[in-house]
Subunit: 168 residues, 2 copies
């Protein structure tokens, strides 16, 4: 891929995000299945539905740019999800695993926060306010999902992971 | 690695961060060399020095936990840096590449923001306020580095990448 212009770079970002979000929809069900906390499973299930909506927004952004949606394998997300998958394979206490799943999911959210933030900045510089507004909806969802995970971790799941330890 | 307790998980996070930061010190010099913007090169050079300090803080955190510093290959950072390396290999306009380097570096910053945030939350739950305070210093640096990159992107580098395009 030649990156001769900021428009090329925006398309590159969209292809990366398209791949990232699609990889995530494959990985989230396994993470949800591994949750002990029903609240955590619920939060990730809501985010899976949001992710499907975000994929549609990326497709609409491609459309606004007169391009067919295409992926370019996002190696960043691939690495993050491999890391998450390794966690699920560890010999782990279920409460501790919940805390670990939140850590893995927040890394994913932060990848997306960075990637959407970058793409939105490019779109604004290019005067593509419609594309920027569309991606900003997804960015808001990612930030809210990250915040929700922090609330779950600090509002009980980390403490539960620690209670088990204190009882050992 | 068995994850039987929140203490196990904190150690796991520290090993992951230790690997992530060390991988980053290997990768940053190549990114700095590829910058056209002197301001961007300077910001990344400052962050390379910060990263070296962050590695020392992680080593001190291991010490506070009576553990020898050890890495566990951080696949997340590995993926992010592979992605960044691919960018440097693209056939790219130098101004466009600067914008792309910022995007790659902000993904890295956000990985670290998520990872330090998680480790700090674990340390607090475990009552390890000294470890939490140490890692919070690094978290503040990561957030400031991310903010600085946004300022550079939106304060001129993205516009420069677009000016080249307008002239084509």
């Amino acid at each position: 891929v030649a990156l001769n212009s900021l428009s090329d770079l925006l398309l590159h970002e969209l292809k990366d995000l398209y791949s990232a979000e699609r990889q995530l929809t494959q990985a989230l069900p396994k993470m949800i299945k591994a949750c002990k906390s029903a609240e955590l499973a619920e939060a990730l299930t809501v985010h899976l539905a949001e992710t499907e909506g975000q994929i549609q927004r990326i497709e609409r952004a491609f459309g606004l740019l007169d391009h067919t949606p295409r992926s370019q394998k996002c190696k960043g997300m691939e690495g993050l999800l491999e890391e998450g998958k390794s966690l699920l394979e560890e010999d782990a206490d279920p409460d501790v695993l919940d805390a670990a799943i939140i850590g893995a999911a927040q890394r994913v959210e932060h990848y997306e926060i960075a990637a959407y933030g970058t793409a939105i900045a490019y779109a604004r510089t290019l005067g593509l306010d419609d594309v920027a507004a569309l991606l900003a909806e997804s960015l808001d969802e990612e930030r809210a999902a990250d915040e929700k995970l922090s609330v779950l971790a600090e509002g009980g799941i980390n403490a539960l992971a620690h209670v088990g330890e204190a009882q050992d």
